[in-house]
């Protein structure tokens, strides 16, 4: 009963967003239903496309899972994008410097990515707890720094032999790429990682003392402190875990998708993850399907450009509309429940 009620805003929002999207597509001069079919076909039409969609799903899911941890703890960790970039930088450093075959280097690159993301998030955390800087501003600022560091490394110390170009570093040697299957870009390791992370975050929030403390600090830090929760340590751990998962997303992007460091390595996934988590109302079990839906929209809307000559950013517009409607309808519900229209 309770769960069904909760699902209502999501259903209404999806319907409303669909109606508005169809209207927008019509305005743009495209046949709306054909366009929607094209998006779906572009995302799951054949094995290769499904592989692309899944590989787009993995980093988005990882970053979103990390965000759930920080959001539950009441931390507006808006700096995920920077933490994803930091993870990609860390993984790139490992892939370039650590000698050996994939069995050694790939786990090391993923681990360094996790650490780099965690450190980047912890910086925002320490700025908050010790510097009195709101994590929204700290996170945004650190995001710009991470972006600049990535660009500097690409055109500076890590530039390709002979040319300094923002198109990226030299690709990694092939043995440190995440292994793929079936001639597609699908990496089972990456998908397994994402599934494992979803499960771990679920178990953490549901069954551990740390998860309970996160919720307590998130809902009321003053009470949590009186109840014996070490609030600062809990906040910092939440940042470290959330940033670590965002860093893992960056490491997967570098070693599994781009196979090098590019300036736009995060590609807005950090911000997209915020939308995923808002849509999921901070509940981890909803993150996987919603991230999949977003991945389908992102990958599939490339077809709109190829086939209908529409700008592929229409996919982003659809995602934005959807989130706006969910927040709007959730807000209306809260207003009416209190009896003040």
């Amino acid at each position: 009963m309770k769960r069904a009620l909760r699902a209502v805003p999501a259903v209404w929002s999806v319907l409303a967003a669909l109606v508005v999207s169809v209207g927008l597509l019509a305005l743009a001069g495209a046949p709306p239903f054909e366009a929607l079919v094209l998006v779906l076909d572009g995302a799951v039409g054949d094995g290769g496309r499904m592989a692309d969609t899944l590989m787009s799903w993995v980093p988005l899911t990882l970053a979103s899972a990390g965000l759930v941890v920080t959001f539950v703890a009441g931390l507006w960790n808006i700096g995920v994008e920077g933490q994803v970039i930091a993870g990609a930088i860390g993984a790139t450093w490992a892939a370039r410097t650590i000698p050996g075959d994939g069995l050694v280097v790939i786990p090391a690159a993923l681990a360094v990515g996790v650490v780099a993301g965690a450190v980047w998030a912890l910086a925002a955390g320490v700025l908050k707890t010790r510097g009195g800087v709101n994590e929204i501003f700290g996170g945004l600022g650190l995001g710009f720094v991470a972006q600049s560091v990535a660009t500097y490394l690409i055109i500076g110390p890590w530039k390709r032999a002979g040319i300094a170009s923002t198109s990226g570093t030299e690709p990694f040697r092939e043995e440190v790429w995440l292994p793929t299957v079936g001639g597609t870009r699908l990496s089972p390791v990456a998908v397994l990682l994402a599934v494992a992370v979803i499960f771990l975050v679920w178990a953490l929030l549901r069954g551990t003392r740390f998860g309970l403390r996160l919720k307590a600090v998130g809902a009321n830090p003053a009470s949590a402190r009186l109840l014996g929760v070490p609030t600062e340590a809990t906040v910092l751990r939440a940042f470290a875990l959330g940033g670590g998962l965002a860093g893992l997303a960056g490491a997967v992007l570098a070693t599994g998708i781009q196979h090098k460091l590019v300036p736009a390595i995060a590609g807005g996934r950090g911000f997209l993850a915020i939308l995923v988590v808002l849509l999921a109302a901070y509940r981890i079990v909803w993150v996987a399907p919603i991230a999949l839906f977003f991945a389908i929209l992102s990958v599939g809307s490339a077809q709109l450009q190829l086939r209908l000559d529409l700008d592929s950013s229409i996919g982003g517009v659809l995602q934005g509309i959807l989130v706006l409607f969910v927040i709007l309808i959730g807000g209306w519900q809260a207003l009416y429940r209190r009896g003040e229209p």
Binding site: R209, L212, K215, N220, A224, L227, G228, E340
Partner: protein, 485 residues
């Protein structure tokens, strides 16, 4: 004439108001009496437009009052003074006074009107002082004159006497009598019997969302208590307890800053002793309690628990020394909204396990619910509990062995039955040698439960007296800063 017909309001499965009818003629001082959670506040919020009823109508002087809009209610002549007066703190008294008026504001005329209204009701407020600098009682007075200037014919007061001094209470009651004599309808919402008896001429008693009776005052108190609770409550007897060695000693303590500052506070509390902290809100009691709980740093002076210095230590150190603090804001600094009873008890148990055993947590919660008679289940969120049940949950969360128990307004907002229950649990702690220090704005509570009362006035100890030599009246004068005889 104010007429309410069939007012009904549900919150989920809870029926807060169940077909309430009420008639109040002009010039009445009418009380709405009921225990916590009886539905008084809901009814008043519906009357003043803050909540929409599911059914029912309101008429004033024969005209229908639109429901669900505070503005419409105010235009119809119904104004409400909330428990925490809704004044805009950074504004001056005069700015607050003209707030909510429509059209051009003539400040000179408003100033004249403000002065006249204050003079008529014997209120003394400087129109140019910022509301932040006014006491709670003065903010109430400001709200009353503002509502009068907007032309209200019905003035609702929701528990207006919590947190104001006895002098201000006397002034408030005198003003309400003046207003009623002029033909205004005064609706006085309270769970305090004595005040209703003192002020009002008629009373409607509400229980579980229904009107259970109406009486003309004076009428026997037993009758009203029985109407409120359905059974007569007997106050718990105080057990005689041996007073032991010093559990808490404070020497020359200074702490806090600004209006919260305390200075030169020295006191000793022995095991099994109950000490009440009296004083106007913000006279230093809260700062002292928070310092003793380890939540605020000591500027100078010493704090000893069972003979060991603890000043300068962390909160965790105070907890380990056997200190426990029950703050007044239950949902603000005691409980976590959204977390369930089982989750609260799990956190409070401070267990070393990393993985929570929810089966054990459920059993622990069920035991606590039964033992402390909490109305709720293990999975009920704390914010869905009534005030009395929230306080019971806080009691259930107290550690077993305590040296010093610190409490801020332990029974604020509770009805007699809940308050009595809370105190019976607290006093039982004395037998195991716990020293109790509590602050309260309720003089009867201080005189009734404390062995000694320490009176605070602007951050300093004004008097330290045995409760046996005190009466509520004498204490009331002391709180105002007068050391007489």
């Amino acid at each position: 004439m104010l007429e309410l017909r069939g007012i009904t309001k549900r919150f989920g499965s809870v029926v807060a108001n169940d077909g309430i009818d009420l008639d109040v003629p002009p010039g009445s001082l009418h009380a709405v009496l009921g225990e916590n959670g009886a539905g008084k506040s809901t009814l008043m919020k519906i009357l003043s437009g803050f909540l929409s009823p599911d059914a029912g109508r309101i008429r004033l002087d024969g005209r229908e009052v639109p429901t669900g809009s505070p503005r419409a209610a105010l235009q119809a002549g119904i104004g409400m003074l909330h428990q925490d007066p809704l004044v805009c703190l950074p504004f001056t008294a005069l700015d607050n006074f003209v707030l909510g008026r429509r059209g051009r504001i003539d400040r000179a005329a408003a100033r004249r009107e403000f002065g006249e209204l204050c003079a008529r009701l014997d209120f003394d407020i400087d129109p140019d002082v910022r509301a932040r600098a006014l006491s709670v009682g003065e903010r109430q007075q400001l709200e009353i004159v503002r509502l009068l200037s907007l032309g209200v014919k019905v003035l609702i007061l929701d528990e207006p006497t919590s947190g104001i001094s006895s002098e201000q209470r006397t002034k408030l009651f005198a003003a309400l009598r003046t207003l009623a004599a002029d033909g205004l309808i005064v609706l006085f919402v309270s769970h305090k019997l004595e005040e209703v008896e003192e002020l009002c001429d008629r009373v409607t008693v509400i229980r579980s969302g229904k009107v259970v009776g109406e009486r003309t005052l004076p009428c026997p108190a037993d009758e009203l208590v029985e109407l409120m609770f359905g059974e007569v409550v007997v106050s718990s007897e105080r057990p005689v307890v041996e007073i032991g060695s010093p559990a808490l000693r404070v020497g020359g303590l200074a702490a806090g800053g600004g209006r919260q500052r305390i200075a030169d506070v020295s006191m000793e509390v022995r095991a099994g002793e109950v000490v009440g902290l009296a004083g106007l809100e913000g006279s230093g009691q809260r700062t002292l309690l928070r310092v003793l709980a380890g939540l605020e740093p000591v500027r100078s002076g010493t704090v000893e628990i069972a003979g060991r210095r603890v000043d300068g230590s962390s909160y965790e150190h105070f907890v380990a020394a056997g200190v426990h603090y029950l703050p007044a804001g239950r949902l603000e600094e005691g409980l976590v909204p959204g977390l369930t009873i089982a989750e609260h008890l799990t956190l409070a148990a401070r267990l070393p396990e990393w993985v929570v055993d929810w089966e054990a947590a459920r059993i622990r919660a069920e035991e606590a619910i039964e033992h402390f008679r909490i109305k709720g289940g293990p999975d009920t969120p704390a914010d869905a509990l009534s005030g009395g049940n929230q306080q019971r949950l806080l009691l259930a969360m107290m550690p077993k062995d305590l040296r010093v128990l610190l409490m801020e307004h332990p029974t604020r907002g509770l009805d007699i039955e809940s308050a009595d229950y809370v105190w019976s649990r607290l006093l039982a702690r004395r037998e195991s040698g716990t020293a109790i220090v509590f602050s309260s704005a309720d003089l009867d509570e201080l005189v009734g439960y404390a062995d000694r009362v320490v009176v605070f006035f602007s951050g300093r100890v004004l008097a330290d007296l045995a409760a046996a030599e005190l009466t509520a009246d004498r204490l009331g004068t002391l709180i105002g800063g007068k050391v007489a005889s």
